[in-house]
Amino acid sequence: MKRRLLIIALSLNTLSAIALNDSIEKILSVGPEGQGNIKAAEAWKEITSKPSQETLMMIFEAMNDADPIASNWLRSAAEVIFNSMNHEQNGSNNTLGEYFLNENNPPRARRFAFDLIKKNDPEAASEIVPGLLNDPSPELRRDAIELLIKKGKSLEEEGKKNSAILVYRQALNSAVEANQIKPLSESLKKLGTNVDLPKHFGFLMRWQAIGPFDNTNRAGFDTIFPPEKEIKLDSQYKGKGVTAKWQPIESYDPFGKIDFNKPFGLLKESVAYAYTEFESNISRTAELRLGCKNAWKVWLNGEFIFGRDEYHRGQKIDQYKMQVDLKKGKNTILVKACQNEQTEEWTVQWEFQLRVCNQSGVAILASNRMPTPIQKQTDRRPRRPKKS
C-alpha cells in the first residue's frame, strides 16, 4: 500500500505528500478502545483541509490496508473532501473510477467510490449498474440484481412467462443475499421452476448429531462435554438422563436448518452437537455463516472459532460471519447448540443453519457434497415444549 501511496504522493509537492502520509498513518494506527483517536482527529482535520483529487485517492488507497474503524475515519474524510470539491474538480478525472473498477480493492470502499461517481454523473452510473451482476462486492451486485428483478416482473405482467423465468434465473445466479434470493426463488416457484436453495446458499445439510447433555441453569454453554475433546462417531457417552450417541441428521429445510428437536425431542435445558466434514479442493479463505437463536459455539478443524450465549433473540441467515481458512482436503466442523429453560412457544426452536461461502457470499460447495436431501414425508413439529 505504501508504494501506491508514494506514487500518488509524487504528484503532490513533497511537503504536502509527507504531511498527508503522516496523517493517513495516524488514522491507520487507531487501536481498540479508542486508542489513537486524538491523533486521528488531528489527522482527519489536516487531511480534510486540503481537498484535492490526489488527497482523495490517497485516502481510498489507504482503505485497502485499514481495519474497520480506520476505514470509517478514512471514509468520512473522503466524503468531506469530495463534498468540498467543486463539480469540475471532483468530476474532472476518472481516478475514482479506476479505484472502483479494481476488483481487488475492498468491496465496501468500491461501493463508496461508485456512490461518489453516481453523485457526479448519475447517468454514467446507471449505465454501469447492469455490468455489476457478478461483482465481488455484494453491495454493488445488489443494484444490478434489483434491475433484473424489476425486468422479470414487467415480463411477467406482459405474460412472457419463459422470458421472466430466464431473467429471474440470471438474477438468482448472481444473488448472494437472502433478501434477494428468497423473493427470486418465490417468483420462480410461482412460474413452475424450483430452485435448489440449499445448494445455492451452500448450506451444509448432512451432519452427525449427539446429545442431549445437561444445560441446567444455562451452565452447559461453558461445560466441556466429550465431543469438544474428541470426535469418535462410534463412541457413546453419559448424556442428560440418557446415553448420548452420534446419529445422522439431515435437513429438508430450504434454508438449511438443522433441527435438534427432531432426533432428541422437544427438550429444554439441553446441549447438542453437530459434526460434519467438508472436503475442499484447495486451501483457501472462506466464511462460515451461521444463523442460530440458541447459545452456540463453532469449531473448525478442532479450533474454536466463536461462540455466543444468547437465547431466543432472533435468527437470520448470515447472522454471524466467521472468516476462516479452509485447508485442502478434509475440514471438520463442529457446532454446539444449547437450549435453555424458557417454555414460551417462541422458544421451541433448537436449531442452526450454517453455510460455507466466500467473502462475497457466493457458496463454496464441498467436493464431497451430496445432492440436497429430499423429505419423504411431512414431519410436523409439535408446538408445545416440555422440560426434560
Partner: protein, 404 residues
C-alpha cells in the same frame, strides 16, 4: 484584519449561532431525561392544516429522536437493505433542509427485529458535540459542523456485546461523562466514556439479560441504571455504585425523576416511587402501585402528577406523592415511543397512522386537544424545542409549530 482573524471572526459567529440554549433538547427525553420542555410553548390544539411547519425526507430509517441545538436539528438514521450504512444528519430547523449528512459503515452486527432498527438510540449532545450510538454498537463523536472527533466500535472491542433483537438504550451525558448502557444476554456492560477521545473512563459488567432502557440523571453527579434486577445509582465520573434497589424493574420503559431529582419513579412492580437516602442505603419506597404498570412508553412527571400509558394505550394520571390514580384517558395507540410535555400539554404519537396527539392537562381530567395524522408508522419519541415539536418516522422528520 488578517485572513486568519477574519476566519476566527466568522467561526465565532457560526459557533455562537448554534450554541446550546436553554430551549435546546439535547438527548432522549430532553435535557434532564424527564421529557419536559417547561419553557417551550408548542401548539396546544395541534392541527394538520395549521401546524405542520415542514416535512423533510430522510436518507435512512430510524427510531431515534431528533435533538435540537439552536437552529439545528440532529438526527441519526441507517440505510441500505442490511442497515449497514449509518448516518448522522444535521438539518436547518427553520426550513428542514439537510445541512450535512455524514455516513459511516456499521462495524458491528446489524441484525434486529423488523420493528426496530439500527438507528434506535437517540444521540446526545453537550451543546458542542454530537455523540451518536447505533444498535451495531458504533459510537461516533462529531462537532456541530460534522467534523469527526472520534470513533468507537464497541462490538469490535467487545464482540459479544450485541442483541439479535437490536439495542436501543440511548447514551447520556452527566458530569462531563458519556454513559453507554449495553445490555444483552451475552456480554452486558455499562461504561463511562471520555468525551474528548472516546476512551473508557470506567466500565463494569451488568446482568446478562437483554435490556432496552436508557439511564437517567438523578443529580449533578449520579445516574440511575435500570435493568431486570432493579435500579442502581452510579457516580457518573467514576462508576462507583452509590445505592441499589433490587426488587426488579422493566427492561423496556425507563425510569423518570421528579423535577428536582429527589424521587425516582421506577417501572417496577407496576410503578414504584423511590426516595434515595443520604447514607446510600437501600432507598425508601414511598409508594408502589401495581395498577400503574406502563406499556412500552416511559412515565413522565408533570407538576403534581405522574402519567403512565399502559399496554392498552390508556393514559393514567396519578398523584406523584401517593400513587393514587386520579383519572384515565384512552388514547389512540398502540405506542412504542414515550410522551413529552410542555407545562400544560403532553404529546405522543401512535404507531399506526402516526397519529400525533396533544393532551391538555390543565383541567380536572386530561382531554385530547388535537391530533395530526402523519400517515406513517411512528415508533420514536418526539422532541420539543423553540416552541415546536419534532418527530420522525423511517422516512421523514416533521416540525410542528404555531401558526405565524
Amino acid at each position: 484584519m488578517t485572513l486568519n482573524y477574519i476566519a476566527i471572526y466568522f467561526t465565532s459567529i457560526l459557533t455562537f449561532s448554534i450554541i446550546a440554549q436553554a430551549e435546546d433538547w439535547l438527548q432522549f427525553r430532553g435535557n434532564h431525561h424527564q421529557g419536559l420542555a417547561l419553557n417551550s410553548s408548542p401548539p396546544t390544539n395541534i392541527d394538520s392544516e395549521k401546524h405542520i411547519a415542514w416535512k423533510s425526507a430522510l436518507p435512512g430509517r430510524g427510531l431515534s429522536s431528533p435533538i435540537i441545538i439552536g437552529n439545528r436539528v440532529f438526527l441519526t438514521a441507517a440505510s441500505t437493505a442490511d442497515q449497514t450504512r449509518l448516518h448522522v444528519i444535521s438539518l436547518d430547523s427553520t426550513n428542514g433542509k439537510i445541512i450535512w449528512n455524514r455516513e459511516f459503515w456499521a462495524t458491528g452486527r446489524t441484525i434486529c427485529h423488523d420493528k426496530t432498527c439500527v438507528a434506535a438510540p437517540t444521540p446526545v449532545s453537550d451543546g458542542t458535540h454530537i455523540y451518536a450510538l447505533y444498535s451495531s454498537n458504533d459510537l461516533l463523536c462529531l462537532d456541530l459542523d460534522g467534523n469527526l472527533k472520534w470513533i468507537r466500535g464497541l462490538m469490535q472491542d467487545y464482540p459479544n456485546a450485541s442483541n439479535s433483537l437490536g439495542l436501543a438504550s440511548s447514551p447520556i451525558i452527566v458530569n462531563e461523562t458519556l454513559i453507554v448502557q449495553i445490555e444483552n444476554d451475552s456480554d452486558s456492560f455499562v461504561a463511562g466514556i471520555n468525551l474528548k477521545d472516546g476512551s473508557n473512563i470506567w466500565k463494569f459488567p451488568r446482568t446478562k439479560k437483554a435490556n432496552w432502557t436508557t439511564p437517567i440523571k438523578i443529580n449533578q453527579e449520579d445516574i440511575a441504571i435500570q435493568g431486570s434486577e432493579g435500579i442502581t445509582c452510579v457516580r457518573a465520573k467514576t462508576g462507583e455504585i452509590q445505592w441499589s434497589y433490587s426488587e426488579g424493574a422493566s427492561t423496556i420503559p425507563s425510569s423518570v425523576t421528579s423535577k428536582n431529582g429527589s424521587v425516582v419513579y421506577v417501572p417496577s412492580n407496576g410503578m414504584t416511587a423511590l426516595k434515595p437516602r443520604q447514607d446510600n442505603n437501600t432507598p425508601e419506597i414511598i409508594w408502589q402501585e401495581a395498577q400503574l404498570r406502563p406499556g412500552t412508553s416511559s412515565p413522565i412527571v408533570i407538576g403534581d402528577n405522574i402519567y403512565i400509558i399502559n399496554r392498552a394505550g390508556v393514559l393514567n394520571a396519578a398523584n406523584k406523592n401517593t400513587g393514587e390514580r386520579l383519572w384515565r384517558l384512552r388514547l389512540e395507540g398502540p405506542f412504542s415511543g414515550s410522551p413529552v410535555a410542555s407545562k400544560t400539554h403532553m404529546y405522543i404519537a401512535s404507531e399506526r397512522k402516526g397519529l400525533l396527539q396533544s393532551i391538555n392537562l390543565q383541567g380536572a381530567e386530561g382531554t385530547i386537544s388535537g391530533t395530526i395524522e402523519l400517515g406513517e408508522t411512528i415508533l420514536g419519541t418526539p422532541a420539543i424545542a423553540n416552541d415546536s415539536i419534532y418527530i420522525r418516522s423511517d422516512g421523514h422528520l416533521w416540525k410542528i409549530s404555531n401558526t405565524k
